[in-house]
Symmetry: none
Subunit: 401 residues, 2 copies
């Protein structure tokens, strides 16, 4: 029994409200040794005030040294062991473009490629065909019809698109058809188990019809398929924690990840201010609110320290509006670190803050990586954040008598 | 292999002495934000001196956010994973009144109830019959005789009593007979597996004979049975750690919990001073001493901050007597927090102290929740306390070559 199962068994109901504010890629690194991180360099009077009122901690997303992608990073925050609940590549790609996967779906990441007259691959990415050219081709592939199976085709970007097969009994243990080199034809899809034989049959039909539809294309006259995967079998927030959960996010990827755990997607915000508008309007209707802010991660990925500082300062400005709602528990955290110095996700811990009437208090005076090291929450894995939040919200009963 | 199994494999013998002082429900919360907890408010010169000489840490009983009952709280302190070793409700009730469960026992929590002429329950608690009336009735039920099985009946309080069946091959997977409502008869006990069919047969005979013995009672003319459970299958302190362990406690519940892990119950103390008398007298005869102080928890449960402070100050006064015995390792901790603010057990960490010649030292100046956050022991789960104690006592060998 893991901590999530234990928390689930102990769940109780009340009228508390929990808000989880996620600044994507929040954690950072000093530009130079001894200097401040992005968060420490930023002027964040509101977050610092929360740090004095609440408790801080240093949260590692998966385990020390492990750098998470967005999927595992968020699953951990949501309290699902990211090593146990794996999201297949195809499912993540579909989720990332906002496609709501159902229980009978198998999602596949596809690439357009260029084939020569013998059917051998000459370019695995169809000359990195621009999206303006590839998107109409993906949409054209919606003409594919396969008896007994619904077929969805969604453009992604450049040579990439997503295919979803929907039907009873489709397995997802199917080998990739990308041979990872040129001069050879795409591989035949191979089933790894019995239910996947049906999926392979469907995939072969798809490939055959697609080849006909693409036959006259100069660049994108073929395709490869990778990462066949079903929707992961994950219990919902309602089932696990007994809360009505709302997700407020601008980007499809994070709306999709929240949807995978059964959160309801609320509103169509396009800025952080609009996200808080949505939060205020939905306040009465949910028990738990996941609010996602993307740009701390984006500017970290750009390697732009100063721009990430500015995004953190923007994030800080909305804190009073959230605080004014008087959530029973307010969490401020990130799904991982994205130090501008590395211009990528990293394994470093994420400064995390919990504000609740029944927290014990610590000596942290500001919200930052170094200060969080001495916080009352200690150094802890992301999967323990939800149990902590539920406990402080009075939503967990006693274990044993 | 969990940490306890690892410690067990590495155990060695020497003539060290370990004392574990447990102030039940020790951890607390500030009355007002920013204020001191009960322990921080208390005048504890002796504990503070220990904190300066030893090392501190912030211990969570089970996992972050999880509030333990007394059973799991103590199992954790004793080094047994409380999520793995579950104590059934009947077994805990029997343990709580000091009944020493054996390996062939099944313990059951019973309620007297009131039945009407049709055998339907009119009051599930027999009008909350006072103990003076119910205890003689429980004792009267000792007249029940069932071939091949020993039957024990023990009064508890008001409508509650405990029944223990002792016999070969009795399963404990039996459904409750309390229908949880009135106007219907008690349920028939139902077996969940094969060995429990025998237990059900015994339970039916018990119910039938008991009904006859209680037939002329105005209130308590029936009974219900809940929480059928065997003694949990737990290796003893001697087996696991190789120590002769003594338990010194005033309350039956804690004597019982210690007995579940094979500690010997020493003395019949009724005050903390008397507990230390017992400790001094038994000093030569054991390697490990569990000393339990109840009233820190009781006053926390009462919601009485000042009274809990006083109990902590009383606890502090006995420290010099324990210190004078020069234990190789002295532990001071609690089984969980019981903040007066919440008037109940809570999930908050427990300040914990270890004093030993071979501890490394830290910067803690007083014994308290906030100070312990920066201690050398870090933030750690209760199950790691025993390995730490054994190591500092020189009782754990090297792992691997």
């Amino acid at each position: 029994m893991d901590i999530q199962q234990l928390a689930s068994e102990l769940k109780t109901q009340n009228d508390s409200k929990i808000v989880m504010l996620v600044a994507d890629g929040l954690g950072g690194l000093p530009r130079e040794p001894g200097g401040p991180t992005e968060l420490e360099a930023a002027n964040t009077p509101n977050l610092d005030a929360l740090a004095r009122r609440g408790v801080s901690g240093s949260m590692y997303p998966i385990a020390r040294g492990i750098t998470p992608g967005s999927g595992p990073g968020h699953l951990g925050l949501f309290g699902y062991d990211p090593v146990k609940y794996l999201i297949g590549r195809g499912a993540l790609e579909a989720t990332g473009i906002g496609f709501a996967l159902g229980p009978n779906d198998v999602a596949i990441r596809c690439n357009f490629c260029t084939l020569d007259a013998e059917g051998n691959i000459t370019d695995r990415r169809a000359g990195r065909i621009p999206t303006e050219e590839s998107a109409p081709l993906a949409i054209k592939l919606r003409e594919v019809k396969i008896p007994g199976v619904e077929v969805f085709v969604e453009p992604v970007k450049e040579h990439r698109f997503v295919v979803v097969f929907r039907g009873e009994g489709l397995g997802d243990d199917v080998g990739d058809t990308d041979p990872q080199r040129t001069g050879v034809p795409p591989l035949d899809p191979e089933p790894g188990d019995r239910p996947s034989e049906k999926t392979v049959e469907v995939a072969r039909q798809f490939i055959e019809q697609a080849r006909r539809l693409l036959a006259d294309q100069p660049k994108a006259n073929g395709l490869t398929m990778r990462g066949f995967s079903a929707k992961p079998d994950i219990a919902t927030y309602k089932e696990v924690y007994g809360v009505r959960a709302a997700a407020i996010a601008v980007y499809p990827m994070y709306r999709g990840l929240a949807q995978l755990v059964g959160m309801e997607i609320v509103g169509e915000p396009s800025t952080l201010e609009e996200e808080i508008d949505v939060l205020e309007k939905a306040w009465a209707d949910y028990d738990f609110f996941f609010v996602h802010f993307k740009y701390t991660d984006s500017r970290g990925e750009d390697g732009d320290f100063d721009a990430k500082v500015k995004m953190i300062e923007q994030f800080d400005t909305i804190i009073p509006r959230v605080d004014a709602l008087k959530p029973t528990v307010l969490l401020v955290t990130g799904d991982h670190s994205t130090p501008a110095k590395l211009a990528s996700h990293s394994w470093h811990s994420v400064p995390t803050l919990l504000l609740a009437d029944d927290s014990r208090g610590d000596t942290c005076e500001v919200f930052g990586e170094t200060e969080a090291l001495k916080g009352a929450l200690g150094h802890f894995p992301a999967v323990e954040l939800m149990p902590l939040a539920l406990a402080h919200a009075g939503r967990l009963g006693k274990f044993g008598a």
